[in-house]
């Protein structure tokens, strides 16, 4: 099963692992499946859709590897149970008492809380909200979940790609903390936007005009002019992906060498 996920991700499984496939499955059977919850706050459901794009591993994942114990439409329960890990999608609306309560409860009942997607991790598009609209004109203030509770791990992206979700799942199952370290660090990145490229890269004499930010931008808000990113603020959703993918924001050298086999 692990080998299958690795194969899907293009990570070559070691021969000895293949040889002991039964063993791996046995361990997987014996090991209690991690109990996962899914909390959906103010987001567009794009993040869970991206998760479900991992067709190849989804069935295995949901049937054999994890147990979904809580989540609207995913589990038929009212009371939130204890969970090993909870994925939170969407930012939290301060005026919506249900959202605030559910988030607080999730923090209490989950071992690990993951801000899943940019709305949960940076606020993303909901940062533009100013209230005064139907269905509830009072719903004005939307903040990343990290503003209210401790976030252990963040997966920004609008949405995060199916691959990063799969890679993270594999890392969690394998206990690969080295791979997860950037996600742990990104838990603190809650105020994001295209202007970070100017403040944190260009202003700091770090930009080299490689164009990775403009490629990564999920809303085509970035262009390159004279070798520097130029932001069209009207298109920016403040997901933070441009800065996250910039090779000059953080540099995972060891992981890259490992992935390339160098």
């Amino acid at each position: 099963m692990l080998a299958k996920i690795k194969e899907f991700l293009g990570i070559e499984a070691k021969p000895e692992e293949l040889a002991s496939k039964e063993e791996v499955e046995k361990v997987a059977e014996e090991k209690a499946k991690p109990r996962i919850g899914y909390v959906h706050l103010s987001g567009c459901t794009g993040d869970v859709m991206s998760l479900s794009e991992n067709y190849d591993i989804l069935a295995e994942l949901l049937t054999n590897m994890v147990e979904i114990v809580y989540g609207q439409t995913l589990a038929d329960v009212w009371e939130m149970p204890e969970m090993d890990l909870v994925l939170v999608e969407g930012s939290v609306c301060l005026q919506d008492e249900h959202s605030v309560k559910e988030l607080m409860e999730a923090r209490e009942k989950a071992g690990l809380l993951v801000a899943f997607g940019s709305c949960a991790s940076t606020g993303c598009f909901t940062r533009y909200s100013r209230g005064g609209q139907q269905a509830n004109p009072n719903h004005e203030s939307f903040v990343p979940v990290g503003d209210l509770v401790k976030v252990d791990c963040a997966l920004p992206g609008c949405p995060p790609s199916p691959e990063i979700i799969a890679k993270t799942v594999v890392a969690v199952i394998n206990g690969d903390m080295d791979y997860l370290q950037p996600m742990i660090d990104l838990a603190g990145y809650t105020e994001a936007g295209g202007s970070d490229l100017q403040y944190k890269v260009v202003n700091q004499a770090l930009c080299i005009g490689c164009g990775t930010c403009a490629m990564a931008c999920q809303t085509r808000a970035l262009d390159m002019t004279n070798g520097r990113p130029e932001l069209n603020e009207d298109r920016c959703v403040k997901c933070g992906i441009c800065y996250v993918q910039c090779p000059r924001s953080w540099w995972p050298a060891e992981q890259i060498n490992k992935d390339l086999g160098l």
Binding site: S161, E163, A214, P252, L260
Partner: protein, 294 residues
Amino acid sequence: MVLGTYKQITLGRSTDKQIQKISQDGGIVTALLTFALDEKIIDGAVVAGPSEEMWKPTPTVALSSDEVMAAAGTKYTISPNNMVLKQAVRQYGLEKVGIVTIPCQTMGIRKMQSYPFGVRFLADKIALDIGICCTENFPFESLKTFISAKAGVDFELVEKMDIGKGKFWVKTQDDLISFPIKETHGYEQNGCKVCLDLVSELSDISTGSIGAPDDWSAVQVRTDKGETVFKQAVDAGAIELKPIDEGKFGLEMLTKLAKSKKEKAMKEIDRRKAMGLPVPYKGSSEKEDPLANV
């Protein structure tokens, strides 16, 4: 290891007369891309193609050998090639993309492949990354200054630019003008000053003129993927090889320049860190190998 991990280091050049004529040194990049396109190893390539402005490259998705040839030759200014990768996959529908990158661009691609946070179904479509050797890069206005103020040449008349033998060369139809490379100092972009990578250590195959005689290129074959393509190109006769000179003008020179780029960058990294400025790399006291690209 100041030249990064590699399986093979050699001199090489294109056997194609037309490529030899239009390309920078040994024409390795052009030879490899045209070969890979013809053999369908890639179905398109991201290159620094021509724009409306002379000598100002624009990232271009080339789908044919002709389009690759049109982008041959070095442009000594920024071409943000990575920016069109998504376009190459989504708009052009490419499944196997080749790309030419300078070291920092290679690093952007590799980071994206290891951590594709917001980049959906793209990481696995990079079929070949050809890295080029890079000491530093210049904003377009810097380049204009070299040509018009230092070489005293009309930009439109320039046929070729080159860096070698300690000089910046500008070739026009009638003249070959040069000025010491030292005079370009202070015109390079600032981000280059903390760069620890001369030879595109993370590319599949890297190449450049340093350590090679005129009209040849030094080539480092790095990944399994790179090795497969390079071997095919050599076996097919698209590229000819000869051993790299171990001495002063060969491997020794390449090693010396790679080391000196790293040493200079480490000094700058430490200086910036001491001022409290952010740098994504470790300071010299934080890592075992002070010259590693980490």
